[in-house]
Each structure stands twice: as C-alpha cells, then as structure tokens.
C-alpha cells in the first residue's frame, strides 16, 4: 500500500442532472436545477424555491422490497451507490464482505418518511405507524442500506456535521482505506423537501426568500440574502492507489490528498473563525503549497457575514485574487451533507477535463478580493489540484485537497 487513497467511481444525484455525465454537462452549461417547489405546495411558506431532482422514479430503480422501508434520500443513495460501483468497474458481490465499508454523511435523516409516519401516528394511531420508521428516518440509514444491499460489512458509519460532514465522511473513509479496508463508499445524499423538512430548514434563518430562481442564491454578491436548499449529493468509491492500479480500474479520477477539520471558537471569545485553519491543515496534510492549488470550490453560504469570512480565509491563504474560486452549487442549491461530496465529484471532473465550472448568476461584490469564476467555464490552464471547502451550521469547518493522480 502507498497510503495514497484514490477515487475510482462517482455516483451523482443532483437537481440539474442524475448521473455524472448529465450533471457535468449542466454545470458547464450553467443550467440550473433551481425552481419553485413542486413536491408540496410552498405557497404558505416564506421561502418557495428549491433544487429538486426531477424524473427520479424510485419504483423503477429500487427493488420492491426496499420501497416501503426507505426514504427518498435512501432511494437516491442506493441508486447513486450502484452508479458509483458501475463507474468504478467494481461488482461488490465479487469482493469479500469485510473488505468493503460505507461511511456517509447525513444532515437531516429521512424527513419525508418520518413526516408520513408522524401523520399516521397522530391522525390514525400508533398501530398505523410503519415498523420501518424504527430506522428509515435515521442518520445512519443510507450507510446501512448501502451496506446491506451490496454486502459490505467492513468499517462503516455516519458523520453528522451539516455541510462539513460531507468532507469529514470522506476523510474517515480515507482513514479506513489506509488502515487496510480494500474499498470504501463515501459521500452523502440528503433529501428533505417536504413540509416538515422545510419548516426545520426555515429555522436556520439562512434561507433565501427570493421568488426569482435566477437571482435567489447569490454567494459573494452584494445582493446575497441566504441560500436555496436542494436535494441530492454524490457517492464516491475510494481505494488504495495500488489496489486500483493492480485490478485495472477503468479510471482513477484523482487522489484524496489532504483533509482538515476545525471548530469555530465561541462567538464571544473574540478569536478568528476556524475556516482558514482547516485550509492550512488540509494543505499541510496533502503536502501542497497554496500556489500549487488551481481552484477552490467554496462553501458559498450566501450570507454576507459568512461570505466575508470565507473570502478572507481564501485571501489570507492564497493572496489577493491569486487562485480561481468557484461555486457551481449555485445551479443546485445547497445540498447539506450532499453538497461537499458533489463538489468533490465536480472537482474530479474539472481535473479530468482541465476546466473550471462557473458560479452562475453572481456578480462579485467589491467587498471581496477573490477571483470568482463567473459567466462561462474557465479553460486554458491545467487543473491538477483543487481545494473543496464546506461549513456546517454551529461552527463546523472542513477542507479537502484533491489532486490529479500520477502513478
């Protein structure tokens, strides 16, 4: 083993594309998946836009026995895991069960499933609540169902740290590969677009109440006024580089080269926020200098105070306008635990094609000294190293460095 952990498969479920090909084409074309909510009537709520995944038919893609026991997020996760395996050219049934594990991130759990069962409880009585409510809502359920479905009994678990969890989960999967597990599936898929989930999201005070899909989610813009929630995310297949090479993996997207994770100090403590430190730790873990980084995929909170903190962390690390920064999540909305894994997938596709996808709709505020890639994709320079940032409400900061793989 080299200790180098690489990604060999991507499974993407995004509001603007199911599957990594459709998603990548949409991102490069600036096609947004944000629109008025159709999964329930959003009229009574102050926020009415979301990034919904359209055209996903669970009954067609998920075994019948699993339908009554799975929330939408788990159905999307099962399909995405299948895509990631196919992409990696791996048939899990051919590998020893204890050589494969699953670590996913979760933000909400199965809200829609839980909402339906709570409705049964209060309107019809306890005997009408599904026995599967016992686990279908649970944070760890995506890991569990992927594990059961694919016979993966190696080290598994779940990370719950809002959007930062998507990176922390991948870091944990990397640890397990380094400790000797042959293959890990990691990432995150969230889907909580139902009235109960929506009300929970509204309490964050960070949702955009704009009714104009084209101007609703504007990170680093002078008109930034919160984010648009979305559903989906990505799952990745991680392996040791030698294992991937010796089995003849169809492709190696790149290396999970470094990870850093910090927690913000108490607001009254007067210390600097932890994001920049997370970046430093990740770069140092990867053995990468700031000037070697070709692009930063930003967290892009679209809350002015948080945008300022992120822009400052980037500027302090890299210098004024010294590194291209982008936020393709303006085309999907924020996907919570799914956001950063999707950014990792996007970073690997950017490395594959040497192109930086744009931040759509935004015009950069004069407040921030960053080189934000807006308008159309940026080409002309190799993209070999990318930094992905993610923050979670409550003080979580995480950063991951991914790198083009050279054998």
């Amino acid at each position: 083993m080299t200790g180098r952990v690489v990604v060999t498969g991507l499974g993407v479920a995004a509001p603007n594309g199911l599957g990594s090909d459709d998603y990548w084409a949409a991102v490069l074309g600036g096609v947004s998946g944000i629109g008025r909510i159709t999964r329930f009537d959003p009229t009574p709520y102050p926020a009415r836009l979301a990034g919904e995944i359209r055209g996903f038919d669970a009954a067609e893609s998920v075994p019948g026995r699993l339908l009554p026991q799975t929330d939408r997020m788990t159905q999307l996760a099962l399909v995405s895991a299948e895509c990631a395996f196919a992409d990696a050219g791996v048939r899990p049934e051919e590998l020893p069960e204890y050589d494969m594990g699953v670590v996913t991130a979760s933000f909400s759990g199965g809200f829609e499933f839980g909402q339906n069962e709570l409705r049964n409880l209060w309107s019809r009585g306890g005997q009408y609540v599904s026995a599967y409510q016992s686990f279908a809502w649970f944070y760890a359920v995506n890991s569990g169902q992927i594990s059961i479905r694919n016979g993966m009994r190696g080290p598994s678990g779940v990370l719950v740290s809002d959007q930062a969890g998507g990176l922390d989960a991948v870091a944990q999967a990397r640890r397990q590969v380094r400790k000797g597990t042959r293959l890990m599936v990691s990432g995150g898929i969230d889907a909580m677009l139902c009235p109960w989930g929506w009300v929970a999201l509204l309490t964050s005070g960070r949702l955009s109440t704009s009714q104009d899909p084209a101007r609703a989610y504007l990170p680093f813009d002078a008109e930034a006024a919160g984010h648009i929630p979305g559903e989906g995310g990505a799952l990745l297949v991680l392996e040791d580089a030698n294992t991937a090479e010796s089995r003849g993996a169809p492709r190696i997207y790149g290396e999970i080269a470094g990870h850093g994770s910090t927690f913000d100090p108490k607001p009254e403590a007067g210390h600097a926020p932890g994001l920049q430190r997370a970046i430093d730790i990740a770069l140092s873990d990867a053995g990468t200098r700031p000037d070697q980084v070709d692009v930063v995929f930003s967290d892009a909170a679209a809350v002015p105070e948080l945008d300022r903190i992120e822009a400052e962390a980037i500027t302090k690390t890299f210098g004024v306008g010294a590194v291209p920064v982008t936020a393709p999540k303006t085309t999907t909305g924020r996907l919570y635990s799914g956001a950063a894994p999707l950014d990792l997938a996007t970073a690997f596709l950017a490395i594959r094609d040497d192109v930086i996808p744009p931040t759509t709709a935004v015009s950069l505020s004069g407040e921030y000294d960053i080189d934000l890639v807006t308008g159309s994709p940026r080409t002309g320079k190799p993209v070999d190293v990318a930094l992905v940032l993610a923050r979670g409400q409550g003080g979580f900061n995480s950063a991951v460095v991914v790198r083009k793989y050279e054998s």
Binding site: P63, R65, P68, Q69, Q127, A131
Partner: protein
C-alpha cells in the same frame, strides 16, 4: 370458504403492502412451510405484517407469539384460529 377466513392470498397481499413486492415469486403454495427468512421476510417485515393483520382482521399477535411463528402456514393457522374464536365469542 368463509368470508372470515385468512388465506394465503390475503397473506401474500399484506406482505406486499407492508414489506414490498419481492424480487422473486415471494410467497407460494410450495413455500408455505419455508422459514420466512428464507423467502425474504425478516423479523421487521413480520412485525409490520402483524400490525397490518391486527388492523384489518382484529387479530393481535404478541411479540412472543410472533417470534415462535416461523412459517407462512403457521401464521395463517394462527390468524384463522383467532378469527374463529372472535366469531364464536361476541365482542
């Protein structure tokens, strides 16, 4: 056949409603004596099934009783025995 009889078709329907359509044939006459686990229904699927039987037929299976019932034939017999009882004794 009495209207109050619980048949293999009833069990098959309730299993599908509660625990989903199986990949294979699921419950058939020839699998009446097979262990539920072997035809793809775990303890949670049986818990969900017993809840639905109670709601629809008024026959309650305590957890301990449920744990002892291993096959479709035993479950159908249990429900029919208790259906007969509830017909005999006015509620």
């Amino acid at each position: 056949m009495s209207a109050n009889e619980f048949s293999i078709a009833d069990l098959k329907r309730i299993l599908a409603e509660g625990a989903g359509e199986p990949d294979g044939p699921g419950l058939e006459n020839k699998s009446l004596d097979a262990d539920f686990e072997l035809i793809g229904y775990d303890s949670l699927a049986l818990l969900e099934t017993s809840g639905r039987i109670e709601r629809e037929y008024g026959v309650r299976l305590e957890e301990a009783q449920l744990a002892e019932i291993r096959t479709p034939r035993a479950l159908i017999a249990f429900v029919n025995d208790h259906l007969a009882e509830s017909v005999k004794s006015p509620r």
